[in-house]
Symmetry: C2
Subunit: 200 residues, 2 copies
């Protein structure tokens, strides 16, 4: 990696952590200068504006989560194992987040929905991608006869995402991982009811 | 109501709407002056600082939701009807929010958890109160023989809150009420499985 690329990557990593904890609008250039150890000009060499940096920092953060998904899903073959792997990624937002501040998609969704249309569009895209991934796992599980034929994949994917993200919010604000554990345990139990029983 | 009280109430109502859409830290005194139509001095006559106004605006917002709960729960007697009434309050965050910007508790939780300890404490208190209300309805339902004796009230209250708040987030950022409807329908179905079957 060239020095310019290393600096750019450093700015993204440090800024993404600041934005994820304090919000995109509430983080000032001074906060970003302090976090990156760079002068304003050093940041503007790589990003046209704070808004541009914010959007790329969001992409950087969701890229980190994407790699968590890939690692968690590796060698998981059955639908139930793959859905469990997806849940593990959410549990990590509490115990070992990709960045300080919890789930970057949840944070960006709440901040952007009424006040930052570019970020809202980007957040919606990522969230929809996560939903599509879960829905695909469920649909394949139904096609392979692992999950009951009448399983509503669209509804299940929404329920899983809503429950997990809501639990991240509750565990974070209460500083109590119990909520997250209860959500995961509830969803595991629900998934078991969708399994096709093995004959004999 | 005296003129001073009316002005104070006006500042709280307008500021609460600004904070709920744009965040507490990201809203400037200029934003609040614009929304209230008052000069800075007019606001500081009633609130010592933006931080103080933010906390009282949060209390104002959650007070509005409290009145929604009271109206929804009125004349609802059975546990299932009362839990359904609680869900209605969340559906209103999408279709008819107490303030523009969705659920004030969800918004404050996400903003405060890493960056505003006073607001985090206050948000945790309100969220815990909501959880206690749901848990109390479930426990009474069990005691009255309406809900199955092995119903886990603590877990169910966390699941309901997490799923509903997560669905508010998804419906808001995607501008699609389907997520909220699916969450409510899923929880209604789940609650039915907890009902004690009438004999005969």
């Amino acid at each position: 990696m060239k020095k310019g690329e290393r600096t750019r990557d450093h700015i993204l990593a440090q800024s993404a952590a600041v934005f994820n904890q304090h919000g995109y609008a509430a983080s000032s250039m001074s906060d970003l200068m302090l976090a990156t150890g760079l002068e304003k000009g050093g940041i503007y060499n790589h990003f046209a504006s704070k808004e541009q940096l914010a959007l790329e920092a969001f992409d950087y953060a969701t890229g980190l989560i994407e790699r968590r998904y890939e690692a968690a899903l590796e060698k998981r073959n059955s639908a139930i194992d793959r859905l469990s792997a997806v849940m593990d990624v959410f549990l990590e937002f509490i115990h070992d987040p990709v960045l300080p501040g919890g789930c970057p998609v949840l944070n960006a969704a709440i901040e952007s929905d009424d006040s930052n249309e570019n970020l809202r569009q980007r957040t919606k895209l990522v969230l929809t991608g996560w939903k599509t991934r879960i829905q695909g796992i469920v649909e394949l599980g139904v096609a392979k006869g692992e999950l009951k034929a009448d399983t509503d994949a669209a509804k299940l994917s929404t329920i899983m995402l809503a429950t997990l993200e809501g639990a991240v919010m509750m565990s974070k604000v209460c500083r109590d991982a119990t909520h997250m554990r209860m959500a995961a345990s509830f969803l595991e139990d629900h998934l078991k009811t969708l399994l096709v029983k093995e004959a004999g």
